[in-house]
């Protein structure tokens, strides 16, 4: 799963620190999310989407690989 957090954050001219404090997470978590190194829980994914004024569908990109049931 990939995401467009960095892109949306730039749109609102928001720093990683500001997004982190708005959602209530550590700044490092935002760093790992933007690097696609960490997959958030559904709850956190939803909170981030809300903080960036968008939806889950817009913010997260599910690859075909993700849709395959392992």
């Amino acid at each position: 799963m990939r995401n467009r957090i960095k892109e949306f954050r730039a749109r609102y001219d928001m720093t990683q620190e500001q997004l982190a404090s708005k959602v209530g997470i550590c700044r490092e978590t935002v760093v790992y999310l933007e690097k696609n190194a960490y997959n958030p829980s559904l709850k956190l994914a939803h909170q981030i989407a809300r903080a960036l004024g968008t939806t889950l569908d817009e913010l997260y990109i599910f690859d075909e690989e993700d849709e395959k049931i392992k």
């Binding site: 404090s21 209530g24 997470i25 790992y32 690097k35 190194a37 960490y38 997959n39």
Partner: protein, 131 residues
């Protein structure tokens, strides 16, 4: 600012341990190693609680779902290392290969558990994903 529950428990545990150690010293109970170890753990817990409390006061967020997962995994790994160590030492002791006093073994385990937890935490933090 009010301490959160985990910090309060850590603080009370550290304080109680130091109190028990002082009582043991006054009543001349326990060996030097046990007293040193207990006072070290007590001071460590107190220091840790105060450090986390100060972080909380600055408003910095230091625990979220990722760090919680890292903490849980590191604790589990550390527990397994301790369990394996215990199993190996027990087998070697029964086979009379090693003869290790309980106090020395407890001291070794104390540092192994803290050290392995710290190492795993660093490793998982650097990796990002904790699945």
């Amino acid at each position: 600012m009010i301490m959160d529950r985990a910090i309060r428990i850590t603080f009370v545990a550290g304080f109680m341990l130091i109190l028990v150690t002082i009582t043991m010293i006054v009543l001349e109970m326990g060996g030097d190693t046990a007293i040193t170890l207990m006072i070290s753990i007590g001071c460590g817990l107190l220091f840790f609680a105060i450090f986390r409390w100060r972080l909380l006061r600055t408003g910095e967020i230091f625990r979220d779902e990722r760090t919680q997962k890292i903490h849980n995994s590191a604790m589990a790994f550390s527990w397994w290392i301790a369990y394996l160590m215990l199993a190996v030492v027990t087998v070697l002791s029964i086979a009379n290969v090693i003869d290790i006093p309980l106090e020395s073994f407890t001291t070794i385990m104390f540092f192994i558990m803290i050290g392995s937890y710290w190492l795993f935490k660093r490793y998982l933090s650097a990796r990002g994903e904790v699945a």
